[in-house]
């Protein structure tokens, strides 16, 4: 009996039914409007939209991006239109895509901010999940300060679990000594899944001005350059927790997706590659089945953790 193409790529991510395992990563896709000019967003397994905060945020001064070999540094600073606007315009607009589960990335300065945003966005009809952003390296308050201490990360997760009506994924930072400890803490606190990894803190200096290129000084490194770090961290964490992982960090191809699954991911997010090729997500989705054939695999789901399972 052959398995239909549909079922070969389908995954169940903590209860979220995805027709394929590929979603654009938060912060790399806005709220989808720009990319909808290139393809039908229903094609995606899901979408993780831009970090949302209670109030509108203007973000950091420019330059906000700098390139590195195989990667890019960004310090956007969580610019977003704020909770009211996201509820009134962005989420209803995404509602036009009736086969597209939406995961909202939730950010804030203090715990109450996270609670406010999580509670309201989780009530929107097309929101299937929340991604708790405790790992943004580019804001002075909040963000990563919640993500570097297992106890604080656990406490925030617990608070969000109380108010969220949808599964909660916690987005972990690689800028920690022991990522497993943070992962275990948020699992114990009730997290339904993990997103890993966020960007690695970095810097570039302009040789002419002798100053950091980014106006913010430091920025988050993303792109193919960080893929081995992501693979290693997912490989380590997935053996220590039972909750599913959305893998991300430099994915550019169907082969990369398969590698993330083997490391222990149950779905993937594509970030920086969207900037290089706006059509990259549908391209990867189209390539996946052929690659499964090539590796003699029936379903993508059976590859989760294949890199360490004995």
């Amino acid at each position: 009996m052959t398995i239909s193409a549909k079922d070969r790529l389908a995954v169940n991510l903590a209860g979220i039914k995805m027709k394929n395992p590929v979603m654009p990563a938060s912060g790399c896709f806005g709220f989808g409007r720009e990319y909808a000019q290139f393809y039908d967003l229903n094609k995606l397994g899901a979408v993780a939209v831009k970090a949302t905060t209670v109030e509108e945020r203007q973000g950091n001064p420019t330059p906000r991006v700098a390139e590195t070999p195989g990667g890019m540094l960004n310090a956007i600073g969580l610019q977003n239109p704020g909770l009211d606007d996201v509820m009134a315009y962005e989420l209803p607009w995404l509602g036009k895509f009736d086969q597209l589960p939406v995961i909202v990335n939730v950010a804030g300065t203090v715990t109450d901010d996270y609670i406010k945003v999580a509670e309201r966005v989780s009530e929107a009809p097309n929101v299937a999940g929340i991604e708790l952003n405790i790992s943004c390296p580019n804001v002075k308050c909040g963000g990563i300060t919640f993500g570097t201490d297992p106890k604080i990360a656990g406490q925030l997760t617990e608070e969000i679990k109380k108010v969220s009506k949808v599964p909660v994924f916690v987005k972990l930072s690689p800028n920690v000594t022991d990522v497993v400890a943070i992962a275990k803490a948020v699992e114990t606190a009730g997290a339904d899944g993990l997103s890993m990894i966020n960007t690695l803190l970095g810097m570039r200096i302009d040789l002419k001005t002798r100053r950091p290129i980014l106006a913010n000084g430091t920025g988050g490194l993303s792109g193919p350059a960080i893929k081995p770090v992501a693979i290693r961290m997912i490989y380590e964490v997935s053996q220590q927790v039972k909750i599913p992982i959305i893998g991300m960090g430099g994915i550019q191809s169907a082969d990369d997706v398969i590698e993330f699954f083997m490391a222990g991911a149950s779905a993937v997010a594509v970030g920086t590659a969207n900037f290089v090729d706006p059509l990259i997500c549908p391209t990867i989705i189209d390539e996946l089945e052929t690659r499964l054939d090539q590796y003699g695999v029936q379903t993508i789901g059976e590859l989760t953790g294949a890199g360490w399972k004995r």
Partner: protein, 265 residues
């Protein structure tokens, strides 16, 4: 907005570190608005990773050919300068909102002011304005004589005033030194100004002529990520925040803005 593979026709050095790149392909058919740009993948690998935004200098819609002029300044443009005829080039575009010319009337006199690598988009703009019967005058500034380019091509469209900082070609000084009565370019002599070039130049023009109530447009550049408005890398602030958004994206709301729309900091 679309993505396509264009074929390199020629890629030649025309001044110090300045290259003229001509490409051909179907995508060119939609490049009808002067002042737009294309986002170019330089090389096929991951270094450089991001595309490079490059202005459209000239378009031949019939022959599906487009010309870009760029300065080989960093890694990406150095890679681009190695392209040879026949090689495919991955291009996203045309992108952004270009120079508004719909309201221009025959007989008007319009100033096109460019600095350095900001000069190229003024060629396509000048060509389109001339088609509408508008009289165009170019004021273009460079560092030194060896960096001057497009002088002859622009001269076919209108009067050209060259300015160099060291005085090795044309008038010594800055473009603003030529925008005076002595050169017949006092404020009363022209109807609108279009400009592209370094930020201090654009700021000087906006500060002077916005205050005087003149109509003018400036084209900005910034380090970009996606080039289509999604990543929010290239934003700038509006001058007077109203009801709407307090910022503009240079890639998709611009790169061209009217005097007074955005802060130049």
């Amino acid at each position: 907005m679309n993505k396509g593979v264009l074929n390199v026709i020629s890629n030649l050095s025309i001044a110090e570190r300045i290259f003229r790149l001509e490409v051909e392909g179907e995508l060119v058919g939609c490049m009808t608005q002067p002042g737009q740009f294309v986002h170019v993948k330089c090389g096929t690998g991951i270094d450089p990773l991001l595309r490079r935004p490059i202005s459209i200098c000239d378009v031949d819609i019939e022959r599906r050919r487009m010309t870009m002029i760029y300065r080989a300044e960093g890694h990406g443009t150095h890679v681009l300068s190695q392209y040879v005829p026949g090689q495919p080039l991955d291009i996203l575009g045309p992108l952004g909102e270009g120079f508004p010319i719909e309201g221009r009337k025959a007989g008007e006199h319009v100033l096109l002011v460019g600095g350095g690598i900001g000069v190229p988009p003024l060629y396509y703009l000048g060509k389109e304005l001339k088609k509408r019967g508008v009289r165009v005058t170019f004021v273009i500034g460079f560092g030194t004589a060896s960096q001057v380019f497009l002088e002859q091509e622009l001269a076919e469209l209108g009067a050209v005033h060259i300015v160099t900082i060291d005085g090795t070609a044309g008038v010594k000084g800055l473009v603003t030194d030529v925008l005076t009565e002595a050169y017949g370019l006092a404020m009363s002599e022209w109807d609108a100004l279009y400009s592209c070039g370094p930020l201090p130049m654009l700021r000087a023009l906006q500060d002077t002529y916005q205050a005087a109530g003149k109509e003018g447009y400036i084209s900005l550049e910034q380090r970009m990520g996606c080039g289509i408005g999604a990543c929010l890398a290239c934003v700038c602030s509006v001058q007077e925040p109203g009801e709407g958004k307090k910022y503009r994206k240079i890639c998709s709301d611009g790169p061209v803005f009217a005097f007074g729309e955005v802060q130049l900091v």
